[in-house]
């Protein structure tokens, strides 16, 4: 590659042209035509996705919608990858194409439900942002996810934009995550380029990162990790650039890494801890190599201190929260190998909707491709001349992807594995890119087409494995029917509660209706994530421990919904799909409350009812 491929003529990482592998014999061309073609294809993909989503909301069969979704992904991804694999584009053109593809894929999530924040974590963070806008409290309590309230980075940005531009929470949130997506795309490109010293390889790796199972939906939602992960990547880039810079210029990169580190600290716990850990590993690598000046000791110290202080004084309950998640993950894996253990059925959501067979095959193929490409990439780069300290770490991450994919099978380990996906995919993407670029340089057209085909399959398959099958395509939320606008019963109940109940009313509810209650202003919601609540909402008996629970938690209202799928916090907010079989809880669940003296039924919409238990509870408490 010529130095001009880096755009500005030189990069500090490459103190001389001899540092760069000579893989591009001709000067890169940037007429802009290719970028326009890629953008036109991506824009067409966005429109095709919108048509797919409309079909999914209205049709009884999802086959057409699913086909269009794959087509839209192909339109966004394939032309970009084809251009990225060629030697032609300049460094700036590669970055522009990557941003176009990344933003187009983010727009796919936006179009999933453009008028509201409807993904599970979005409702939690939208509540935090709404409270900040309404009350001005930066750390307003969040009863469903108390930990999230102690990390106001995301909510403060959404609130700031909402205030400054007089926008609602939804467009503000979409803007924040959209900007974060651009930062992620550029930061990935810069990081991979810094490791591999090859803009072409970095561009391909950045695009292949889209095959990470979380990329399409999970990492696009208005959630703290969607903001913190791009900053994590950018901070790592600054550290690597600092490492490679001349001694005299390192202070600038130390300085540049501080804003991302500060924002990560106030935004997301795991990302802060992960960054501190990686920085100390890099310090160890530098010391082992005898590169004392390159060791990011100051940044590792600063990160450890600010993250530690934040966790200790602002968010002390984080340790308990994370400990519980890791403990459950570990016991889930160990139990699975013991008597009575269970495994999670892959590609099946909590609502019980199984993915179609072709989706299952696609997802399995995607996982196999990621593992095979990682193995081949590690083998190919084992003895490479990459001098970057991140190279071995990324190889390790690629190997760890095998463990992460495996852990997805265990029910309580799924969440941990899912959250780890992005981090390990940094390695998978780079290793797979090495293989893809080598194949693309072969003479055989079949071998040259192979990376494109494999990458397409990987992206499509990972989108299946990264999100429940029942929610791959959107469901109807608001419906224009009978000359009016109809919301699902849970939303109507939440709106009724917001209009008629005191803000400090304490609710017990299933998880999805609970989140809707919170987003509409309820402060105290004990949802089915809380131990004991699932039994309370599903069983026909009200044993003493359940009564004690209601009294201890000073519950005022119990919200029941007969339909089992409503308890699923991914699809429970929506209308059932046409033709969907709706299984219900036994009628005894309602009767156990109705027969209690002092319990009144104050709201009834058929499937959703609200019981006022305050009178019963206070009488019970007085006894």
């Amino acid at each position: 590659m010529s130095v001009s491929a880096y755009g500005t003529g030189s990069t500090p990482a490459l103190s001389s042209a001899s540092d760069v592998a000579d893989t591009e014999p001709t000067a890169p061309r940037s007429s802009g035509v290719a970028l326009l073609v890629v953008a036109a294809c991506a824009a067409t993909g966005v429109v095709v996705a919108a048509i797919s989503f409309r079909l999914a909301r209205e049709s009884t069969s999802l086959n057409g919608a699913r086909g269009l979704l794959w087509l839209s992904l192909a339109l966004m991804f394939a032309p970009a990858l084809a251009r990225m694999l060629s030697r032609g584009p300049s460094r700036e053109e590669r970055a522009a194409i990557l941003v176009v593809a990344g933003v187009a894929m983010y727009l796919l999530k936006v179009l999933y439900d453009p008028t509201r924040l409807g993904f599970p974590d979005e409702l939690i963070h939208a509540t935090n942002a709404s409270r900040l806008i309404a009350d001005g409290h930066l750390y307003a309590a969040n009863s469903i996810s108390p930990v999230s309230a102690n990390f106001p980075g995301l909510s403060s940005l959404a609130a700031g934009i909402a205030h400054l531009f007089h926008l609602g929470v939804v467009p503000s949130a979409l803007l924040v995550i959209g900007v974060a997506r651009v930062v992620l795309t550029l930061a990935l490109f810069l990081l991979f380029e810094q490791v591999a010293r090859d803009a072409r390889l970095a561009g391909v790796a950045t695009l292949l990162f889209c095959a990470n199972p979380n990329y399409l939906y999970w990492s696009s939602q208005f959630s703290y990790e969607s903001l913190s992960f791009p900053l994590f990547v950018l901070a790592l880039f600054c550290v690597l650039r600092r490492w490679d810079a001349p001694e005299a210029n390192r202070a600038l990169w130390t300085f540049a890494a501080l804003p991302p580190i500060a924002l990560i600290t106030i935004t997301h716990h795991v990302t802060g801890l992960a960054l501190a850990a990686v920085l100390w590993v890099l310090v160890a690598v530098a010391l082992r190599r005898g590169q004392r000046g390159a060791a990011p000791v100051a940044l590792a110290l600063v990160t450890t201190i600010v993250v530690g202080l934040w966790l200790a004084f602002v968010a002390p309950d984080t340790f308990g929260y994370l400990g519980d998640i890791f403990r459950r993950a570990l016991s889930s894996v160990t139990d699975a190998f013991g008597a009575g253990g269970s495994t999670h059925k892959p590609f099946e959501g909590k609502g019980g909707d199984a993915a179609p067979l072709d989706d299952k095959l696609l997802a399995a193929l995607s996982a196999v491709l990621a593992v095979v490409a990682s193995a081949a990439g590690v083998r190919a780069t084992r003895k490479s001349t990459w001098g970057s300290p991140m190279a071995p770490l990324l190889m390790l991450a690629a190997v760890a992807s095998i463990v992460v994919y495996g852990a997805r099978v265990f029910p309580d380990a799924w969440e941990t594995a899912n959250r780890a996906s992005e981090y390990v995919y940094l390695g998978v993407a780079l290793m797979a890119a090495v293989v893809a670029v080598r194949l693309a340089d072969r003479r055989s057209w079949l071998l040259r087409a192979l990376p494109l085909l494999a990458a397409l399959l990987a992206v499509a398959g990972s989108s299946v494995s990264g999100w429940p099958a029942s929610a791959q395509l959107p469901r109807p939320f608001g419906v224009d029917a009978f000359g009016t606008h109809v919301f699902p019963q849970g939303e109507t109940a939440a709106r009724w509660a917001a209009a008629n109940e005191a803000v400090d009313t304490r609710y017990v509810s299933n998880d999805s209706t609970g989140r809707l209650l919170m987003v509409h202003g309820a402060v105290h919601v004990i949802s089915s994530r809380h131990p004991g609540v699932p039994e309370l909402l599903k069983e026909s008996t009200l044993p003493a421990w359940q009564q004690d629970f209601l009294r201890r938690e000073r519950v005022d209202r119990v919200v029941l919904d007969d339909r089992r799928y409503v308890n699923d916090n991914v699809i429970g907010y929506y209308f059932a799909r046409p033709g969907q079989t709706i299984t219900r809880y036994p009628p005894g669940v309602r009767r156990k409350f109705e027969r209690l003296a002092g319990v009144s039924k104050v709201y009834d919409s058929g499937d959703t009812v609200v019981y006022d238990i305050r009178q019963w509870r206070t009488a019970k408490g007085a006894r």
């Binding site: 890629v38 989503f53 909301r57 600038l252 991302p260 009016t484 919409s605 058929g606």
Partner: protein, 267 residues
């Protein structure tokens, strides 16, 4: 963009920010909307102008103090954009934390708090750039790429607009979405507030039967169009008040035997 044009753009934006600040401070909703609109227009100019002035001028004293002058001068547009976006996010969020620590309100009555953050960012960036002085940094020609990039933004924006218009709420009801709501809450000691809302597919006539203690009240017949609601305050003073217990049943003909919805207030 020359240093002079950056400064001019920034000064215009700063003036707009000031006017918007004053307008928003006025309590009238109309002037607040005008202020909001003005802010929407000028804030991006202020921010972009401020950051552009950093990018397009020679490294200044702070970079020299950091001994990274050559490094800063060599930053390519990709690094600049990534760092500016991340820095912008970080400084606004950290600004919110600082405002909270010093006790400045961040709620709906405090647009100016946020403007302090944005304004301070703009002024700092501009002041920094002004200290640098000198001529703009010469940038290598980038061919038609900037135009293609701008066209790409327009294309994606148009696709988003078309996509949003396509994804408007579906009209198909599939016959499974209809329902009616019945709700009741005490309204003082001697009356209850009833609420019926229809999401049925056609105009529906309901019967509302109220039982206060064991005594029935006259049956109310109501007809609601889809989406329409009915609210009533039922006085129960002559029936012994709410303490006797109240049961309400909503019937939807033709099934007049079994209630369609029920609510109650137990004694």
């Amino acid at each position: 963009m020359t240093t002079r044009s950056v400064r001019a753009a920034f000064l215009a934006a700063a003036l707009g920010l000031g006017v918007a600040c004053v307008t928003l401070g006025n309590g009238s909703s109309v002037t607040r909307d005008i202020g909001g609109g003005l802010l929407l227009a000028v804030t991006p100019v202020a921010l972009v102008g401020a950051f552009a002035s950093l990018i397009t001028t020679q490294p200044g004293p702070i970079e020299r103090a950091l001994r990274g002058r050559e490094e800063a001068a060599r930053l390519g547009p990709i690094e600049q954009i990534a760092l500016v976006l991340a820095g912008g996010l970080a400084f606004v969020a950290l600004g919110a934390v600082v405002l909270d620590v010093i006790g400045v309100r961040l709620d709906t009555k405090a647009e100016r708090s946020w403007m302090v953050v944005v304004g301070a960012l703009s002024v700092t960036a501009y002041a920094w750039a002004a200290r640098r002085g000198g001529e703009p940094v010469a940038r290598p020609a980038r061919g038609r790429l900037p135009f293609a990039a701008a066209a790409a933004v327009v294309l994606l924006g148009a696709a988003l607009a078309i996509g949003i218009s396509v994804t408007k709420p579906p009209r198909s009801a599939h016959g499974a979405l209809s329902y009616s709501v019945l709700a009741m809450r005490p309204s003082g000691n001697s009356s209850v507030a009833l609420h019926v809302q229809s999401f049925e597919p056609k105009v529906t006539t309901y019967m509302v039967k109220v039982l206060a203690g064991r005594r029935p009240l006259p049956v109310a017949r109501i007809t609601l169009r889809p989406g329409e609601e009915w609210r009533a305050n039922v006085d129960l003073r002559s029936y012994g008040g709410v303490d006797q217990g109240v049961a309400v049943a909503l019937y939807s003909p033709p099934d007049a035997r079994s209630p369609y919805r029920t609510v109650n207030l137990k004694p």
